[in-house]
């Protein structure tokens, strides 16, 4: 399956999810609160799984990069303190660059 097809299929599926209730409108569809609360947990769980995969592993092997962890801590601090994604990304990249220039992994 080529990558372009993978993105295309994911795009069609995403459109169907987006359109779901809007197109079915008037059918009185409601969702149980319990299910809705469970669905809200998907975002933190999936994001954390992807982060863990990206930060700790490299092609399935353990690969610990100290500079990345320092950058991550800085990003968390800036997002929490200043609520700015752009500044968090820029500063973290700068921290990683500086540490790697200094010889850290």
């Amino acid at each position: 399956m080529s990558l372009a097809w993978q993105f295309f299929i994911a795009g069609i599926g995403t459109y169907l999810i987006r359109a779901s209730a809007i197109v079915l409108v008037g059918h009185g569809v409601t969702m149980p609160t319990r299910l809705e609360r469970t669905l809200r947990l998907i975002a933190p769980a999936v994001l954390a799984a992807i982060i863990a995969n990206g930060l700790v592993l490299d092609q399935g092997r353990l690969n610990l990069r100290v500079s990345w962890y320092a950058g991550t801590i800085v990003a968390v601090f800036i997002v929490r303190r200043f609520r700015s994604a752009a500044w968090a990304i820029a500063t973290a990249m700068l921290v990683v660059w500086a540490l790697q220039q200094a010889g850290l992994r």
């Binding site: 993105f7 795009g11 995403t14 809007i22 998907i42 769980a45 954390a48 995969n53 990206g54 660059w97």
Partner: protein, 212 residues
């Protein structure tokens, strides 16, 4: 709001060049999927050579939240002609849904509502596409001393932090991370799927205890 979309689009574009896949194929996802977190998840799994089923399903699972927005927006869309109801969902993003729900509260006129949604959605999409294009163009020009492989996990960290607002969410995230790292011997990127699944399940258990 749309301005905040630009750095994510940029990071995605740069991430595409870092992943070593065809730039235009990578960028095409910004038109077909049009959802930052899903695209970056897929990119991250492509880099770890996951199977295409895992890649596509992960993208869709990340986008399940759009079903919630769709449900929340549906009453406000009820008066729209059918063609608007079919076209507008394509432009749904976190920002567009949040802004429109707010706007719908004190604007009952369906014409004003759909133009507002269209404006917010189109602006966000244009900024996302612009960010992607600048990212794939700049990506190749970035000196090798800058570790662009870090941009993808970094963007996720920035997206994750605001979602950690209560104990169930924090438990879900921690469990997902621990399970993912400890099950890496699984093939096809399944450790990520398993991690996310266990995270959601444990988070739901905690949620049930916090709010029976």
């Amino acid at each position: 709001m749309a301005v905040a979309t630009f750095p994510f689009g940029l990071a995605y574009g740069v991430g595409v060049t870092a992943a070593g896949i065809d730039r235009w194929v990578g960028a095409s996802a910004s038109w077909t999927v049009l959802a930052g977190a899903a695209q970056l998840s897929m990119l991250s799994l492509i880099e770890s050579h996951a199977s295409w089923v895992v890649i596509v399903l992960t993208g869709l699972v990340v986008n399940i939240r759009f079903a919630l927005y769709s449900m929340a927006l549906a009453p406000g869309f009820k008066e729209f002609p059918a063609r608007w109801r079919y076209v507008l969902p394509y432009l749904m993003t976190d920002q567009t849904a949040a802004l429109s729900l707010q706007y719908f509260n004190d604007h009952p006129d369906p014409v004003a509502r759909r133009w507002y949604y269209l404006g917010a959605g189109a602006l966000t999409a244009l900024v996302w596409w612009a960010g992607t294009l600048v990212g794939i163009t700049l990506g190749a020009a970035i000196p090798p001393s800058i570790d662009i492989a870090f941009t993808v996990p970094l963007v996720f960290v920035v997206l994750l932090v605001p979602t950690l607002i209560d104990r169930p969410g924090i438990v879900a995230a921690l469990a997902a991370a621990v399970v993912t790292v400890t099950t890496t011997s699984l093939p096809h990127g399944l450790s990520t799927v398993l991690g996310a699944g266990v995270g959601v399940a444990l988070g739901a258990v905690v949620d049930r205890r916090v709010r029976p």
